[in-house]
Amino acid sequence: MIDLHEILTFNSSPFMYLVLALMAVPLFSFFTTGLFGKKAPLWASFLLLLNTGLAVYLLLTNIHAELQNFRGQWFQLGNISITLNIMVDELMLIMSVIVNFISLLVHVFSMEYMKHDKRLSLYYRYLGLFTFSMMGIVLFYDLLLMFVFWELVGLSSFLLIGFWFEKKSASLAANKAFIMNRIGDAGFITGLMILFTQFQSFDLEAIKTLMLLSEIEDGNWIVHFMNNGEQVFNSIDGRWLSAAGIALFCGAVGKSAQFPLQIWLPDAMEGPTPVSALIHAATMVAAGVFMLARIFVILDAQALEVVAIVGAVTAFMAAIAALSQFDIKKVLAYSTISQLGYMVLAMGIGAYSAGLFHLITHAFFKAGLFLSAGIIIHQLHALEDKDVSFDPQDMRVMGGLRKHMPKTFFAFLFCALALAGLPGFSGFLSKDAILLNLSAWTDHKGGGFYIPEVLAFATVIFTAFYTFRMIFLVFFGEFRLPSLIQDAKLKALPKDGNAKLMVPALLLGALSLSLWFGFTLEAEGSWLYHLIETPVFLVPVSYAATSLIDIPERYFEALHTIIPAVSIGFAFIGFVLAYLAYKPGAKLEKAFVNRREPVGPLGQISFYHWYQDSLYTKIILPFILLLSRCLAWFDAQIIDRFLDGLAKLAVVLGHVTKWFDKYFVDGLVNLTATTSGKVGQLTRSIQSGKVQTFVVMSFVFLLLILLLLMF
């Protein structure tokens, strides 16, 4: 029988310190950046450059090497050893390059974007804290440690969303983000409880090994192993196996902004735009998907179905919401939620490689979109002065920027085309992979499982629609701001930013081309897609989902040509619709400028994101606050009063028993009373009269009880 102790062997090597440096450098940046004053951005960026270099080096040297891991003990809990485990695998190597690279670009971008901020060095420190925490999630192959850093990225996200805390909306958004994440994390902790109870470890390697050994017998989930020479036999209801997966998934629902916790992400746009690019588009929000990838093999069929449905519903709902927003960052935020929905859906249907592939391509093009939008916002904001004030994020003030900001236009366009899923751009490849697998999954599953497919394909149209709507409204037609500010005159026209702004955006725009991922029109042709291999499910057979690998090839054959065609066709439909509605001079484009909010029930549902926010802020939250006030009233008026009343009663009773004691208690009691007398002497000298009464009372009680005991 396998001993847990043998799985959890401790090992380390000098190489480990190199890997740990990936975390140590940003942490060092967090601690030291404050010392550099005005040079803080340079110092932090320099450290991040080092770290990115290190990540790239590790990727290049280890990508095809054997898996390595480093393990040590964190602490001992009773007889159980709680370990730390770092795994150097492809996923970790690729993710650390992406996180560090985008973080570096954001560091550079922020030098210009944030240069007038009075808390500039604090901002860079927070970026360091974020990068450190994010690297923790990436490095640790251990659910507990992953959770630790999971919450720490939540903290950095909280701090950065609320960075401009003087704005009430910013601090409210920060709270909302943290609390929504906490709701998910309560689920994550529940998952940890279940797995720990069953396997006595949080180490993913141990969990996976023991999961493979566990069995389902008579509906019970059984595992039998040794821990430190001691036999362990755990058996709990088999439903906890599904529950564990779903509970852990709750964590991803919070972090990756999935239905029904996704409402924090649009509000999170209150943070500085570079932060939105880094945390709320490219890396942190993808951590949920990354976590799903880490626990992928221990998810059972039921849990995966839940994952798939939640993903599809989220993708669809958010795409609808993105259709009618005015705020450019809101469009991008909803789009992020929608794309994350795709990734989660991919995980749910077992398309592990496709989901991660989309995570990677999305990280680049969405960060690019945010940075480009950031340039626009920054440059428009520069036009504001005491006479002219407007919302630089509102697309109603934009228009025609293609002529004024050509470089920004191209950066934005490339990323946007990747988002819309046009061939030749990275998003097309990864989305194609997801849709292909989804179709095969649907055909294989049958029954009601066509719903995710319908939602996912509808989302393709909507995605193309809102993407092109955004492009038309921002870059085509006439620059609308001058006509909106009436009397005041603009001091200048907007123009492209300087190199610190442009280089990161253009770089990300270039990375949105599909050629980096392979000269191909199919995901199958991409080297990256092949690099990330879909692992095999380890849950007991009767609970396991059908792996996509096991789905007969015939389900896929026809799809290889149909799906890309359909996907391109749908994207084209979206484009045509957007063109008809929002091309310069079109009916909707004109109406849009003067509208305060969309009209009609559908427009309203879209604009208010299915009224989900209202449900929370107008019904659930007031209900909780009301309940808390009721409980506070109950506490003060009922419980406290009741106990006070009891105390008064006790005083009365005390007098009665004192009287009883004086006249009825016999000699035997007096004998015992000498004992209490001794004690009394010790304390008497210090006591005031009032206190003494109570001490006397307590001894009267004692005597009564003594009598009770003896007779």
């Binding site: 602490f75 850093f149 919450e151 709270n175 906490r182 109870t197 105390a647 010790l682 009680f701 009880i705």
Partner: protein, 569 residues
């Protein structure tokens, strides 16, 4: 060092006497004496921990598992046919109280620094504070129930006056309320103590009294021989030397056959086995101190009225005596009762977690909010204990330690604000972050530590409680699976009330209700840093490196769980 524990416990008392003897003209010496005696206590307790053997694994109810033990006959006399009363001066530490001792020494020291601003009746204040220190420290290390009870009761007096004289506007009400509640609790404890005393004998002293021939036998053999003879009735009742020794009380074999609380459990009270009722009485007695729902209402009042250092001590250590008492007496002595009432305890635990958090959400007074958050956090202690698993008990102990640090920090921070404005209403402040950036940093750290952010000690504690509680149904069946799952609601609500407070008081544009505060609202000063920085560092240290604490308690907790849950195996 011989008598190390006695030194730790009584140095503050000596300091207190010095304070009393120092004439008022040398008033500045009071603080010096207080600080140096508590500093010495802290140093000695750290020295003690450094010498604590973490590998010692002995049964929890034997004296072999004790370290730094001191035992001497204190007094004894005959009660005729009732046998003989024998009270020992018996101190010792094991994994269960060693952490509490250090925590107490630390928090008392920090409380002393925090007392710097006390102007009124300094002699009385510092004298009482040092008296309180001795009784608190004594309470954690006394292993004779009589001695323990004495320390336990003694705590009330200084506390009563410290709140009643140096407190806020409704200090008299709060002081008497605190006093009454705790006193009711002690009556429950006293009842059981008497019952226990009537049922438990000391095997070694009995051997002496009964003139057993013990030549050539070692202690363990003597104990075994006596226990056998008592079992068979060979030793006369008159010869039984009854015992207040808490370790003897935790051993079934030391219960006199046929006595009120003997292991057979034949006696009944209100139709329930007497042992269960005794357990319940101890539980209630200490739960009042903890405090747990529904006995918690004294806490917010006491905190609101108490001066800052007393709040710090109250939340930091006094509450822990409740938790410690439950472990040391109720659970150790009546594990059968603990198992029988596990469901109830677990339920009260999660109820306290959620109820405390919901109440905190509704509070308008910052100090009351933190008081209710204490109720919520102490619920974790009950939840962990009710599980009767190694993880659960360890988690409960970790939570007590961690909450001691974090609540001390929180109350100090409230004190910082109160010192400056004499107002604690949340609604009267806004955007403090711009005016008091450093203070805000510490508040943010304390809030996040308290809401259980990983990296801080509270997280380790809560996680351990949760996994321990969940493990229960799968291993010993003490509490059901759903309890810890429902308990996770506490995590969400905790984030809710802390972040909402942070947002209302510290975020947004700077605004205060009273213009006069503008001049008094200064950022942290050196003395405040000296108190806060070590606490922050320690919460971080115990959050990042939990082995520091777990290594101290692991061996004892394992023995403890072996002792209390034969069913768990």
């Amino acid at each position: 060092m011989a008598h190390l524990l006695s030194f730790i416990v009584f140095i503050p008392l000596v300091g207190g006497l010095l304070v009393l003897l120092t004439p008022k003209t040398y008033e500045y010496l009071y603080k010096v004496v207080t600080l140096s005696s508590l500093g010495l206590t802290l140093l000695l307790s750290i020295y003690l921990v450094a010498g604590f053997d973490t590998g010692l694994q002995e049964a929890i109810n034997t004296e072999q598992q004790l370290q730094f033990a001191e035992k001497a006959d204190w007094f004894s006399f005959s009660l005729g046919s009732l046998g003989e009363i024998s009270v020992d001066y018996f101190l010792g530490v094991d994994g269960i109280n060693v952490t509490m001792l250090v925590l107490a020494a630390l928090v008392l020291f920090i409380g002393a620094i925090s007392s710097w601003n006390i102007k009124k009746h300094q002699k009385g204040y510092f004298g009482l504070y040092l008296l309180l220190s001795t009784s608190v420290l004594g309470c954690f290390v006394a292993l004779d129930f009589f001695l323990f009870y004495l320390f336990f009761e003694f705590m009330l007096l200084p506390m009563y006056f410290l709140i009643g004289i140096w407190g806020g506007p409704r200090k008299e009400y709060a002081a008497i309320k605190f006093f009454l509640y705790t006193l009711v609790g002690s009556v429950f404890i006293l009842i059981v103590m008497i019952g226990l005393y009537n049922s438990v004998y000391d095997p070694l002293k009995t051997a002496e009294a009964a003139n057993l021939s013990v030549s050539g036998m070692n202690t363990e053999q003597i104990i075994e021989a006596v226990q056998q003879q008592v079992e068979s009735g060979a030793i006369a009742k008159e010869d039984l030397v009854k015992s207040f020794n808490m370790l003897h009380m935790a051993n079934d074999a030391n219960y006199i056959p046929g006595s009120f609380l003997d292991k057979a459990g034949l006696s009944t009270v209100f139709g329930q086995p007497a042992r269960w009722i005794a357990f319940l009485a101890l539980l209630i007695g200490f739960a009042i101190k903890l405090p747990s729902f529904p006995f918690h209402t004294w806490l917010p009042d006491a905190h609101v009225e108490a001066p800052t250092p007393i709040s710090v001590v109250l939340a930091g250590i006094l509450l822990k005596i409740g938790g410690y008492g439950i472990i040391r007496t109720a659970y150790a002595m009546f594990p059968d009762g603990a198992y029988h009432y596990a469901w109830l305890i677990g339920f009260v635990g999660i109820f306290s977690i959620i109820y405390g958090a919901m109440n905190a959400l509704a509070q308008k007074d910052l100090k009351k909010l933190i008081a209710y958050s204490s109720v919520s956090h102490m619920g974790f202690v009950l939840l962990g204990l009710s599980a009767m698993t190694v993880e659960g008990i360890s988690g409960a102990m970790y939570q007590m330690f961690s909450h001691g640090l974090i609540s001390a920090m929180l109350f100090l921070l409230v004190g910082v604000l109160y010192d400056r404005t004499h107002d604690r209403m949340i609604e009267n402040y806004g955007g403090l972050a711009s005016q008091l950036p450093k203070f805000t940093v510490f508040v943010t750290i304390a809030f996040f530590a308290s809401l259980g952010l990983p990296g801080f000690s509270g997280f380790v504690a809560e996680l351990t409680v949760f996994i321990g509680a969940f493990k229960s149904e799968a291993t010993n069946g003490a509490i059901p699976f759903w309890m810890p799952i429902v308990g996770t609601l506490g995590l969400i609500l905790g984030a809710g009330y802390y972040l909402w407070t942070l947002q209302r008081m510290f975020m947004g544009k700077f605004w205060v209700k009273d213009k006069h505060w503008l001049s008094t609202l200064k950022d942290l000063e050196l003395r405040e840093y000296i108190m806060l920085v070590p606490l922050v560092a320690l919460t971080l240290l115990f959050g990042i490196y939990p082995a520091l604490l777990f290594d101290l308690i692991n061996a004892s907790v394992i023995s403890f769980v072996d002792h209390i849950s034969p069913l768990a195996k």
